[in-house]
Symmetry: C2
Amino acid sequence: MELTFSALPNIPLVAPQDNVAELIIAAAQSKPIEIAENDVIVIAQKIISKAEDRYVTLNDITPSEEAKKLASEVHKDPRYVELVLRESNEVVRKKTGVLIVEHRLGFVHANAGLDQSNIEHPDGQERVLLLPINPDLSAENIRQHLKNQLGVNVAIIINDSMGRAWRNGTLGLAIGVAGLSALEDYVGGEDIFGRELKVTAVAAADELAAGASIVMGQTQEKTPVVLVRGYTPQQPTDPDQQGITPLLRSKEQDLFR
Amino acid sequence: MELTFSALPNIPLVAPQDNVAELIIAAAQSKPIEIAENDVIVIAQKIISKAEDRYVTLNDITPSEEAKKLASEVHKDPRYVELVLRESNEVVRKKTGVLIVEHRLGFVHANAGLDQSNIEHPDGQERVLLLPINPDLSAENIRQHLKNQLGVNVAIIINDSMGRAWRNGTLGLAIGVAGLSALEDYVGGEDIFGRELKVTAVAAADELAAGASIVMGQTQEKTPVVLVRGYTPQQPTDPDQQGITPLLRSKEQDLFR
């Protein structure tokens, strides 16, 4: 088995209202590469957020009393903290310089995924970029657009660099998924000696997102779309298990919250 | 940029005292593929452990009182729990069926990485396979062997499937590293608009380990070696930052222990 992770070239800087699916089609044609059935396309969150105009100008934000108090605790800009709180279900951990929350989308993420690098700050106005409103839906819309235009079924993963417990360094992980089962379930399977497999599930979407992240590199804007070929996506059998839902461990099930 | 993750074919079932580096050379020749400078070779922990004869027969183990007590709390075999404790610095979390520890090697891992799937159980004797004694050293030895035999500098990552806080599903992550910097540091770098990058470090070895894990699939024994081409390994500048050391967050620095 061989997997290739190829950066699609010539993706321009993305601006609000750009159609990311069309940018992907144009980039593939320029390579040239024919997007094919079962390809997985991993897209950096940042360009989805830009296309969806998820910019907020910090000067437009009036922090709440709660945000001011928290900002002084963790030594961050109160306007920034206000935005983190608006994007979050709850604060999970905090210390100076660190604010880890459960994002409103259900995953645990530092600063609710707010981003200030690789974005333009027009007229010196400090802006931040929020995560997409609904990354699973963003992914599904791109998947449908590619299906309509190219006649092929692909899988889409939107990834973001995330920190984690226990280990240093960020990993690219999935925050939105369409057209594949984010979790591959091996329960009931057998190992090569016919013994029942006890490992339950592999976070396939996260493994693909991580591999693509290496190709994107740190300054993701340069190569924010990676085409993965050679993987056969599993499809979710349960309609409740679409998107990133199967990857999310609830607070009640989580020993580390 | 393009990364390819290729499974090396024809790796036989590994037995104690097998030379994994020689198996890799033979597998590459059979493909045929020429192992080249800067290739990254990701190897499943399981075959390293088998080659290093890290098998233990459960019937040979006499559980301590501590192991018996803990085993009854989490509903596991006391002999198995005894081995987990011997392989661990401390228990981090426990509940029925779950035992998460800080492994003696410094990372947090369920059941100290003890494995019972895809291993032979001769004469019906239940065996478990422990992690390698020193995976960084195992990786370095293989790296040196390949350098001596083939005259090329490669990087070696030994990976294992690991659970994590907050998210469901396992990921393939690095437990041993040689010939590359496990963490890529961007502190002091600039983004594409010349703004200082605040993200500190990318867990490159983990991202490569995760991508390779997709190729290995769940029953790792079938394709336990994956050659990654297209990545240029960074080298650690600080001699204290060899191997997986830079990936390990100490308990004192960890908000989730």
